[in-house]
Structures are given as structure tokens and as C-alpha cells.
Symmetry: C2
Subunit: 392 residues, 2 copies
């Protein structure tokens, strides 16, 4: 992306020795917009990043995987200060221009000495590194890197890089101006258009609502969720607000769906449409409740169109509707009509769709015009494998 350089290296923070530190540096200080977890338990890098981002200007992003540096108190904060300061010094810029983010195990102090010792190499690699290297270094349990790109009208383009496979459930809402909740994820948007921090913020708000706000892997929200958007202005062109919002939305939707597809232990992704509730927000509440139902998720794993579980989950979301009006379709096949199962044949057809890695499930609940789209995934043995022994 014009105006940005990237690099990655191994600081031996991860036990497996893979690259675990990523750096992105803009050619000069840039307008920036951010979002952070609304979890009351926040990692040190979130605290420091949110603090620095209040100035709405930044030049570098320093990210590590393998250690969340969360629940590490004053020592954790100091470790993040030391590592970002080392990067700032090597780059010859102010430390307040370096935004940190971390992902990994909670409760483990960031080994700042290890990270500091590879900073010269990291900075020296900026001329040969790529966004792909950056994307690889921030992965934890991710099975693939998450990169998306889009044109911003004719003003330039945006590159999105993300990580996220577990502790994923966005739940947007204002806590204070700089801290809205986002999924268990790290997301970085780099654009070469010219845009003010306010313009970035407005575009990010729209993008996030349609994307990270509408997915769940496991319903858990991290201590480290961070979204950072920076505009280098290298293209020299300023997009219309709507163009920027559309580009951000396109990239964020693609990254969000990638996170669900890469959900820990996931074999199946459902694009869930919930229609016919009083408001869009009600529809989203129902969708989120279905998406996090263990019984729905295990039925998906079993490729079983056990629609009673979908309907029962919808019914416990606290949003009123008349089940006698409910209609459910899987892959376009209607399996429930007027609240009743249609036929064994219909369910067999639906079951065939559920063997696919990705399919569409639609609930029509007949209680209004509210609608929500949500991405969810199944829960199978591999999720247990990944998470029962994560630290050992």
C-alpha cells in the first residue's frame, strides 16, 4: 500500500519459533481511527494504544503474537512502553506515534527484552517486507492469513490485514468515544487516500457494524481486541465519505467472514439471515443468540437440520415473536412453514446443503420488518482439541 512499509520477525515469544512480531510504518505521521474491546479487563497494549490514539495521529503499528500482555499490571504497561519506545527510537520518531497491539495467552508478561533485541532487524527489514509478512506474524491459532483489499472509488485503495479465529464475538456499543467493543481480533486498515481522522472514524463506524459486529465464533470477547485504520494520503486524492465507507465495509466484511471460516475447529459456516422482528437490533439479538447456541452449533457439526434447536434458540433471545408464523430455509429449501416441519424429504435436501463448508440459513419470524445478517460456525471436536489444551 502506497505510503506504508511492512516487516516481520521472530522474537522467540512464540514457543514454535515462527515469526511473531510485525511492524507497519507510514512515511510520515498519519490520521488514525481506532476501536477497542469493551471488555472491562483490558490488556496493557489496549490501554496504551487507546491513550495514544486520542491524538488521532500515528506513524507506526507494532504487533506481537504469542503473548497478549493482558492481566500483567504495571509491569505489562511498562513492557509495552519499552518495546514501542525502542521502535520509535530506531525509526527516529516520537514514541507516541507508535501504536501497540498484542495477541496470545492472557496473564503472561510480554518479554520486552526479546522484542527489543529484534527491533533493529525489524526496522531494517522494512524495505523488503510485505503486508503478507505482517499478516503471517500476527496469527495465533489462525490457519490462514487474512488480507483483503478494495478500491476507494478512484481515490486510491485500502489494504486490510486481520487475525482472529477464537474469542470472537463483536458486540458494538459506545463505552467512551475511543473505546467501542469489537471482536476478539486484531484488524489493521491501511489506505493511501487522503482522509482526516474524523473521516476515517465515520467510515470505520459504518464498516464495523456490518462486519465484525455481525459474527461470532465462540461468543467470547477478548481483552485485546483492536482495530486501527490509518491513511497515508500518498495517493494525493480525497474520496467521498460514502466511497471510503463502502471500501472499508467491503474489506471488513471480507475479513470478518474469513475469521468465522477460520473459527477454531470449524468445518461449516452459516450465513444466517433473521428477518421479521420489530427492529434490526432485535433481529441481530436473535441472530447472535442462535449463533452462540451450543445445540445449534453441534447440530451444524453433525450436519443435522435439527430446526427445533434454531427455533428454540430464537425463542430464548428475549425478543417476542409467534412461532406459529415461523419459516426456516436452509440453502433455499423450506424446512419449516407456519412453525411446523415441512417434510422428511425437505430435511434431507437441507441436510445435503449442510454438508457444504458454507451455506445460507434463513429464519422468517413474521413479527416486523427488522432484518439481520450474521455469520456463525459449527462446534466440533477440533474446537475442544484447540481449546482444552491451548496452554499446554
Amino acid at each position: 500500500m502506497n505510503g506504508f512499509r511492512f516487516s516481520a520477525a521472530s522474537a522467540q515469544i512464540r514457543q514454535d519459533g515462527r515469526i511473531d512480531v510485525a511492524l507497519a510504518v507510514a512515511d510520515h505521521p498519519c490520521p488514525v481511527a481506532t476501536r477497542f474491546t469493551r471488555n472491562f479487563v483490558r490488556a496493557a497494549p489496549v490501554t496504551l494504544c487507546a491513550n495514544r490514539a486520542t491524538k488521532r495521529v500515528a506513524q507506526a503499528v507494532l504487533v506481537n503474537s504469542g503473548c497478549a500482555n493482558a492481566c500483567t499490571g504495571e509491569a505489562g504497561l511498562a513492557a509495552t512502553q519499552v518495546t514501542t519506545a525502542a521502535v520509535a527510537k530506531e525509526l527516529g520518531i516520537g514514541a507516541e506515534l507508535v501504536l501497540p497491539a498484542s495477541t496470545g495467552v492472557i496473564g503472561k508478561l510480554l518479554p520486552s527484552d526479546k522484542l527489543v533485541s529484534i527491533v533493529p532487524k525489524l526496522v531494517a527489514s522494512l524495505n523488503i517486507g510485505s503486508g503478507a509478512d505482517f499478516a503471517q506474524a500476527i496469527c495465533t491459532t489462525d490457519k490462514f492469513t487474512k488480507i483483503a483489499e478494495a478500491k476507494v472509488g478512484s481515490a486510491g485503495s485500502v489494504l486490510g490485514i486481520a487475525k482472529g479465529a477464537g474469542m470472537i464475538q463483536p458486540n458494538v456499543g459506545p463505552l467512551d468515544p475511543t473505546t467501542e467493543l469489537h471482536a476478539t481480533m486484531l484488524v489493521f486498515l491501511f489506505t493511501d487516500v487522503a482522509a482526516s481522522a474524523a473521516a476515517l472514524d465515520a467510515a470505520l463506524e459504518k464498516a464495523v457494524s456490518a462486519s465484525f459486529n455481525a459474527i461470532s465464533v465462540d461468543g467470547d470477547t477478548s481483552t485485546n481486541d483492536t482495530v486501527i485504520a490509518m491513511a497515508s494520503g500518498a495517493s494525493g486524492r480525497t474520496p467521498a465519505a460514502e466511497e471510503l465507507a463502502q471500501a472499508f465495509t467491503k474489506v471488513c466484511e471480507e475479513l470478518a467472514e474469513a475469521m468465522v471460516s477460520d473459527g477454531e475447529g470449524t468445518s461449516h459456516v452459516a450465513e444466517l439471515w433473521v428477518r421479521g422482528l420489530a427492529t434490526d437490533e432485535s433481529a441481530r439479538t436473535v441472530a447472535r443468540t442462535i449463533a452462540n447456541s451450543l445445540l445449534v452449533k453441534t447440530a451444524m457439526c453433525g450436519q443435522d437440520p435439527n430446526w427445533g434447536r434454531w427455533l428454540a434458540a430464537a425463542g430464548r433471545a428475549g425478543v417476542p415473536f409467534d412461532p406459529a408464523l415461523a419459516e426456516i430455509r436452509v440453502g433455499g429449501v423450506t424446512i419449516v412453514k407456519n412453525g411446523l416441519g415441512v417434510s422428511d424429504d425437505a430435511e434431507k435436501q437441507a441436510q445435503a446443503f449442510m454438508r457444504a463448508p458454507r451455506y445460507v440459513v434463513e429464519l422468517e419470524l413474521g413479527a416486523g420488518l427488522g432484518v439481520a445478517r450474521y455469520f456463525m460456525c459449527d462446534l466440533g471436536h477440533e474446537y475442544v482439541n484447540v481449546n482444552a489444551d491451548y496452554r499446554s
Copy 2:
């Protein structure tokens, strides 16, 4: 229990041929108190039972497993009417005195002909049947029957019979006077004391808050949850209100913990204490969020004192606290103090406790005097086995 007779039989509703119909009959019409699921999707037996229970008098309870008769519309309601009418006729009592309950797969119509055909045998067996038979017949995925008994002061005693192993998360709150929410469970309390329906209702309310309202297996709430309490008055003695409440509470707590211990695929149960939030309700919200966190549940399965997950789950419950004040103990061993991990040694000691089938976890959050006790369980491969292929 004095004043009640029990029987059970197989109506071949279950594919495995085990007994699947249970009947309890009082010697004469009794005062009754009930609670039902607050799910907006309610099974036909819930609708009919709630309707009949508004009269606060009943003489018989007819329960089947193997088929929830939920999402079955008018035909489902008719099936429940037909089967309860058959029992009433055989007993020579009014149909409105027979309360139905069902548990099993959603979306399958109750095969009323099968059930009706065994009614004569069911009624004839009342002289030889027992509460244990009743308890066996109502089980679905339960690995053991759930029976508890307690003295009601010196006025008599109460016998509690329950089933429940999945779709378990109580969430009490008034919907209308006859319909408060309870876990994915069926619970029957038979007492021989003399008590009005109002007295039963008051005792049930207290009992339920401390028991079913404070457990979760999987966070899912059923379409069929039903609690029925009946008093035969056979002892001829009327207990004090507090005696009845204590006896009901003792029995319900025992049954509630049994449900979590028998949670589908569960190997470990944690008695979770959350202290130090603004109110008891806030503490319960935090406890429930922890109890339903997939990352906490899988860490329990892995016997891993991964306290960051407990704290992160607490932090996303929407209840404010300062993580820097947090203390966490497992089996009495302090693993987190002032928001920081204590030592690897402490975690190793905690891990030893987590190998046990049941242990205590305590969170002190330092933000008030609110306290909650909650029973939760782990999530492992067996949960996936049970639920990914439940219908096949």
C-alpha cells in the same frame, strides 16, 4: 410419598424401547404450583399444562420422554389433550386435573395412539410402581435418575424427581403469573404436607431462585421446561412457610446440582462463587457469563487453570469492576492476587484440584458486596458426541 402413587411403562415413543411414559396420581385433587419456560417457543404440553394449572388444583401428572411435542401446532395440542383425556378417563377424574409434560426431540408430533394404548397398563401399575420408576421413565440423555427427599419440619416430607442434562440454563423472571422461566428440565415435587396452592407457590419461588436459577450446562433454554409441585395433605399437618421453603430449597438444590453433574459430556463440575460486585444480581450475571464461556468450559475440560479466560469472561459480562483488584482461588489456592498471576507453583496446585470431578472456584472482584453461587461444568468431546448426532 404418602398420598401419591407412581407408575411407568414403554409406549415405544423412544426408539430404544426403554420405558418412556410416567404417571403420578394423587389420591384426590391437590393444590398445585407450577413454573414454565420463558422461551417464546413453547411446547404443546407446556401450553396445556399452564392453562390447566391456572386453577391451581391437579390430581395427576403424565410425562413422556422421547418426544418434546414442541413446534407441532394444533396437532400437537390435540395429541396432548387426547393422551391426558385417556388417563383421566381411566382414572375416572376430569381431564383438567391431569397435567402433561414432555421431553425429547423438538418438531416431532407426540404419537398419541401409542401412548393411549398403554394407558390401561399404566394406570393398572399404579399399585406396584415407585417414584424410581417414574424418575427412570422421564430421562432422556440423563445418565442417572435424579431423586431427592427432605423432611418438611415435622409436618411431613417432600419427594423431588427431575430430569435434565442438556439445554440447561435457568433464567428466572416473571412473564406472567403462571410462567416464569426455568432450566431445560422437568421437575416434580410431591409433598404429603397440607399446604395451599399459594403456600406451595411461595415456597417454590424461594427454592427455584437458589437452585435452578443458578446452574448452566450449555446456556440453552428449552421449549419444555416445567416445574410442578403438588401437596397431597396426607400427613394431615401444615408446615410453617419457612419450613416448606427450606425443604423445597434443599430438594431443588440437590436436583439442580445433579443436573449439572449429569450435564451432557461433563467430567468436571465447578461450584463457582463470584463475590464483590455491586449487587447479587450483578454477581449472578458475571457467574452466568463465566459458566457459559466456551473458553472457560474447554479449559476446565483440559484441567487448565487458565485464569485469564475466567477474568476475560467476567470482564465481558457488562458489569463494571477493576481487574487490578481481582483475586481468584481454585480449591482454596490463590492463583490471582491484585489482578496478577501469583506463581506457576500456585497454578500447579490449582491444576491438581481441577483433576477432581468437583471443585470450588472463587472470584473476588472488589467492587461491592454482591455475591452469587453458580454451578457450571466443562465442555469436552463427549458433549460434541452427544449433540452432534442426537437425532441420528
